[in-house]
């Protein structure tokens, strides 16, 4: 009986996973350029088709990637500090 139950469970999981994988593979072509954000790949693309285009932000960071780089450095430093103090951070309260 448990063996039969296990088989049903596997069948159920396959019934969910296989169509999901097929669905994902089918829509693979919707990504027009590799690793672009969905704001560009989806939002701006569809908006452009309907005559709406994004405008420059009010405060234009210009080198937007540089800001992200700085943000990433800050994250790496913060992550290092958090990792270094990990035991103190996750120690159980007495």
């Amino acid at each position: 009986m448990p063996e039969r139950k296990r088989k049903w469970k596997i069948l159920l999981v396959l019934m969910i996973i296989l169509p999901t994988l097929l669905f994902v593979v089918y829509f693979f072509s919707l990504a027009p350029m590799p690793w672009t954000g969905v704001d560009e790949a989806v939002v701006q693309k569809i908006a452009k088709e309907h005559g709406r285009e994004a405008v420059a932000p009010l405060i234009n960071p210009g080198s937007g990637d540089l800001l992200l780089f700085v943000f990433l450095v800050a994250g790496a430093v913060g992550g290092f500090v958090a990792g270094y103090c990990w035991r103190d951070l996750v120690k159980k309260k007495e």
Binding site: W35, V42, R52, V55, P57, I59, L67, L72
Partner: protein, 247 residues
């Protein structure tokens, strides 16, 4: 220490240009941008009132809300490449925030995070701040909070309820973004086909990312339950009785 530094440097060197999922500046017509601002104002006002009431009860809640705001800010602007779609996007974080501090305070957290992103990172935009706050803040928070408490009332475990809450918060956010975008740009075109088109375009990226968000949500709740269950009791996520049985 040297190993950690090497990993950190490798991560920095492998950084690639990244973008967010928020609706960009100027995409929505003025009337729709104003509509979403007006729609979100009551939620933010109620959230600020709720935050004040909570901090009158327990002042220690304010730093916690600040910490959660930092978590939501980071989660909602860190791009994650999705190999199945070839695009980048990010989770939202509002599901876990809503579970911990309530959906109204979570709306305020999302509004602050999105404002900073719009001002300094060119993610989203000031004209679309209302729309983005509505989808990520209002829909994401309430979807996560309702799913979590609904499942807990039905006897769901903390991890399972957190998992489903994270999933629905993420997918709910993108469904709302699709509706906002479709209604804003459709012109004379019918709404439903355009809405479906946007949803379908989001699916390859957000389907796996929603699962990632649900794992993050369940993981954060489980970690808190193991390490600081008293915090979960204080935030009314679990009951005192559950804490005693845990001990």
């Amino acid at each position: 220490m040297g190993r950690i530094l090497s990993i950190a440097i490798l991560c920095l060197l492998s950084a690639t240009p990244a973008f967010a999922m928020h609706i960009s500046e100027g995409i929505l017509p003025f009337s729709w941008a104003l509509f979403w601002y007006l729609a979100v104002v009551p939620f933010v006002a109620l959230g600020v009132r709720r935050l004040n009431a909570l901090s009158r009860e327990d002042l220690a809640l304010k730093p916690l809300v600040g910490l959660l705001a930092a978590v939501v800010f980071i989660i909602s602007c860190m791009p994650i490449p999705v190999p199945t779609a070839g695009t980048c996007s990010h989770p939202c974080g509002t599901g876990v925030a809503a579970i911990l501090v309530g959906p109204l305070v979570s709306v305020v957290i999302a509004a602050v995070a999105l404002l900073i992103q719009a001002l300094f990172l060119a993610h989203g935009g000031l004209s679309t701040l209302g729309a983005n706050t509505f989808s990520m803040g209002v829909v994401g928070s309430f979807a996560g909070w309702l799913a979590f408490h609904g499942l807990r009332h039905m006897g769901g475990s903390l991890a399972l309820s957190g998992f489903i809450a994270g999933l629905l918060a993420d997918w709910g956010t993108y469904a709302a973004t699709s509706l906002i975008l479709a209604s804003g740009i459709r012109g004379d075109a019918p709404l439903l086909p355009l809405f479906v088109k946007v949803v379908v375009a989001f699916i390859p990226t957000q389907l796996p990312l929603g699962i990632l968000e649900s794992v993050i949500t369940a993981g954060m709740l489980t970690l808190l339950y193991k390490k600081r269950p008293d915090l979960l009791v204080r935030m009314k996520v679990i009951s005192e009785r559950e804490l005693q049985s845990h001990a």
